[in-house]
Symmetry: C2
Subunit: 396 residues, 2 copies
């Protein structure tokens, strides 16, 4: 038998095909309220200083420091400055102005005496204790000077970044368009969710599983379709998918049976369909159709989910600025056997710092997979792993 | 000065007020494609077995094991069974049926011989090597028996759970309604995003920051409003917010100035507004208005973000089934000073396993906060932490 392609080799080819399409997306302008989780394309720069004007950090009295250096002292008060538009732009020498937190501090004043250090009395306010020069005054520009980048390009926008952009007076930002993904599930035996079954039929799992996996990795799902093993129907579906998306995922139709619709349609277009040395997920393929990458995943639902997780999740997450899901090295809670020659991705559950193998290796065990939360990565040359050994585990 | 309430005491009161409102939400029925990330209310149970019928795990020939025990042997082939509806329900003794992966295996057959172990020839197919009894046949119910819970109630739905539900023939699921959150920012000095500023005015930061924080924690944002320091306007806003939401967040208007709109309106309704021994975020409050919890956060934008993170993020995440954001204990990269008497939440950046304090303590430093990714939790009684000491760090 010809040497099978390894997981790493296939991953490199998929990355070379898919990466450029996912990363050369154009920008779109969205309001701040819609920008959470998106990747900023252009830096947000503040035109003016932040804060925009010097203002009070406490409720108290704006004063010239020279007038309150010696205390106690009683000074007249020229009114109240609430937060909001300035009622008075200059403070007369020997006077106070009552200021609320965030209120503009008038010219001339160079400190705020907190209200707790004062007492109202006939004819003015008694300052009981002095403060340092500059105390409780937030200078204009003390957070950011004009022209400062307040959110750098390529930031994955969290609430605090939107806050900084809002402070800078920005109402909308340029973010990367999310990658548009189309999913085409194939198979004569597959019927839509919830439809009644005849003998030989199963409900489609790949459409919902792959679209949910892609959405979780940051994609916008533009189309989820289901075609029987009919080349003409698959071709129509593919046309539409390629026209609307940055990446097309197909499920099924790539193994060695007599009715492999994805092979039949895509191999004449130059598809690379081959057996990968992995389990689940042996048969895999890819093609480029009118410049749009088409990644062909196996039809067994566990194989499809594992293949997406291994080959596509890292690329989509990177494209939208999500951190990679790093493999962990954990002790194996129970010994496992594994067939030699193919890298195994066994379902596991991580508990108390160990990983427990769960369910069987069968690629039809969809319910067993739902109970797992990790994939145990067993190298191709390994046929037995003793309990307590360290294994590499990929969180789902 | 009266003893200030501690962070933990205030957190317990907020939890007692907000928890019931967030957790007693009704269910809604959504299609599987809209259920990603939601919390399942009722278990998904499969009515029939999964897989629903015995089927082939490989492309090959369904056989009675007795007929292929001794090889090589040439047997006639009764046709091809693709995946899909059954073309033949019983296999005659001494015959083979070609089957594709996923195709129903007829009665009588008890193994599938992979196509690679056979050769076509005149009058039939030569089986070159035998297989074990039962080989490559997936029995009906081998993944789940009828009546099995395939996704337990209260599962936070990941793609693999939707896959299992789809396999079980379910097209829609009952999930908890997301908590509906309304945000009301207050302040005479605050203008909407992007509006031109006069002296004394600033752009609203709290509306976008709190709604983004709540959305990130799983809430549905039903209203984001901005009112000046005018009690009548705030009351109108509050009426609408209470009518539409499970939780109202206000920002500003709770400190000791002369124009504290939130205090003015809510204290007569029984609000608890007090000074918490924390920085940023001293003045805080809460009320229950027509049974809807109203949590009153301070108006300084850094204080508002920190207060949400400390008091509300854990409650919202728990209500929607997201895992808690656990504090980490990390070495402090550079010494820090901290005023005694108030628990400090200083902004920090985690890098190479240490946390670096960044920016100043000022609660107006919105841009500095955007550059942080964690809060350093400094106990109230601490006034100095040496470089290299272990500190508790709350990821943002």
């Amino acid at each position: 038998m010809a040497r099978r392609r390894t997981v790493d080799e296939h991953a490199a080819r998929i990355a070379a095909l898919v990466g450029p399409s996912l990363n050369q997306r154009d920008a779109e302008i969205v309001p701040l309220a819609a920008a959470l989780g998106r990747v900023l394309v252009e830096p947000v720069v503040t035109a003016g200083p932040l804060p925009p004007f010097r203002n009070a950090q406490m409720d108290g009295y704006a004063a010239r420091h020279a007038d309150v250096r010696r205390t106690p002292v009683v000074l007249p008060v020229d009114g109240v400055q609430p937060a909001g538009p300035a009622v008075r732009t200059t403070l007369e020498a020997g006077h106070l102005l009552k200021v609320m937190t965030g209120a503009p501090v008038p010219e001339g004043a160079d400190c705020v005496v907190p209200v707790e250090q004062t007492a109202e009395e006939e004819g003015g306010v008694r300052v009981l204790r002095t403060v340092e020069p500059g105390a409780f005054v937030r200078e204009a520009g003390s957070d950011a000077l004009p022209g400062t980048v307040v959110v750098p390009a390529f930031t994955h926008l969290a609430p605090r970044h939107l806050a900084a952009a809002a402070a800078a007076g920005v109402a909308e930002v340029a973010v990367r368009r999310r990658p548009r993904v189309a999913v085409i599930a194939t198979g004569a035996e597959v019927v839509p969710p919830g439809a009644p079954l005849e003998l030989g039929q199963v409900h489609d799992v790949n459409g919902i599983a792959l679209s949910a996996l892609a959405a979780e990795a940051g994609a916008e799902i533009v189309l989820v379709d289901l075609t029987p093993d009919d080349p003409a129907a698959f071709e129509r579906c593919l046309e539409r998918a390629v026209a609307e998306s940055d990446l097309v995922l197909t499920a099924g139709g790539v193994s060695k049976g007599d009715f492999e619709v994805v092979r039949q349609v895509l191999e004449p277009l130059g598809a690379d369909v081959t057996e990968i040395a992995m389990q689940p997920g042996g048969p895999q393929g890819f093609a480029s159709v009118r410049g749009v990458p088409v990644v062909c995943l196996p039809g067994n639902p566990v194989s499809a989910q594992v293949s997406f997780t291994v080959f596509l999740r890292p690329l989509l997450r990177a494209a939208v600025g999500l951190p990679p899901v790093a493999p962990q090295v954990l002790p194996l809670a129970a010994a496992l056997h594994s067939p030699k020659g193919k890298r195994q991705w066994l379902r596991g559950v991580v508990k108390h710092g160990s990983v427990y193998p769960v369910g069987g290796p069968g690629s039809h065990l969809v319910v067993a997979m739902a109970g797992a939360d990790a994939l145990i990565d067993v190298p191709a040359e390994t046929d037995f792993v003793a309990a307590g050994s360290s294994v590499s585990v990929l969180p789902l």
